[in-house]
């Protein structure tokens, strides 16, 4: 039986890159790999509650961050998750110079293109694991 990979985005609220992290993860767990992956609320992880610790501790996790502060990666590690891949949205964004990705509220068409690309990368990693 598969242990679902936990895919956790930062969902940063101040910049479009946080929304891109969030949307890429939701596309992955809802559309691309629903049987092999799931997300866990990062805010819940931050609480450190026993119930969320049990969901994460010792499990393979992929974190997706929208800025160099790497909040998702740090918080998942702190609670005991095994981070097998740290994705930073900015690494993919760099390959799309000159494009406008939208706002922290709404992605543009170019933003959708990039999150589809990131979601594809995350899905490939999940399929390697499971």
């Amino acid at each position: 039986m598969y242990k679902k990979v936990k895919v956790v985005p930062c969902s940063g609220i101040g910049k479009v890159f946080g929304l891109m992290a969030r949307e890429a993860v939701l596309k992955t767990v809802i559309e691309l790999c629903p049987d092999k992956s799931e997300t866990v609320c990062l805010a819940y992880i931050v609480t450190g509650d026993k119930a969320v610790k049990e969901k994460i501790e010792g499990y393979d996790c992929i974190t997706v961050d929208g800025c160099p502060k790497m909040c998702a990666a740090k918080n998942v590690t702190l609670i005991g998750g095994v981070v097998v891949e740290e994705v930073n949205v900015l690494d993919t964004v760099k390959e799309h110079k000159g494009k406008k990705f939208g706002s922290p509220t709404q992605l543009s068409d170019d933003g959708e293109v990039v999150i589809n690309e990131i979601a594809g990368k995350i899905a490939r990693k999940i399929n390697e694991i499971n």
Binding site: I13, I30, C41, L42, A43, T47, Q106
Partner: protein, 142 residues
């Protein structure tokens, strides 16, 4: 000229619609509210950031906006930063069934009814900002 500032902190939970509504309602208030300045912070920065982030609720009277009754934003703010000035549980505003919907979470899947929920929650945030005692408002020179 002095500026009144209030912190609005969303859980932005990824597992259900309530988190999406909390995030978008918070953004709406930040972008559209004119009579008072609002600021926000990414919640996970309490642990991933530094002292400046952990002082957020000490510096600004802060309202937490949570998508479900786990109240993660409220509890984390009180645990790591300071006392909050108000708390909104989105599931109480839009109903538990809507808040815990795990099928419609992405922005692109939102329908008119969900946009109305965002407006409703944004209205609750504005109401709560209005109820904060003027004595607790941070007044910074602009």
């Amino acid at each position: 000229m002095s500026v009144l500032k209030v912190g609005v902190l969303s859980c932005s939970g990824e597992e259900c619609l309530g988190g999406t509504i909390s995030r978008l309602a918070t953004r709406k208030v930040l972008e559209e509210l004119k009579f008072i300045d609002t600021v926000t912070l990414c919640l996970p920065l309490y642990l991933a950031g530094g002292e400046e982030e952990r002082n957020f609720a000490k510096v600004y009277p802060t309202i937490s906006v949570d998508g479900c009754d786990k109240l993660c934003a409220k509890r984390s703010t009180e645990k790591y930063s300071g006392k909050i000035s108000g708390s909104i549980d989105v599931s109480k505003v839009i109903g538990n069934e809507n808040a815990l919907n795990t099928k419609i979470v992405r922005n692109k899947d939102l329908k008119d009814e969900h946009l109305q929920m965002i407006d409703q929650v944004a209205g609750e945030i504005v109401k709560m900002i209005g109820s904060i005692s003027p004595d607790s408002l941070n007044i910074n020179p602009k």
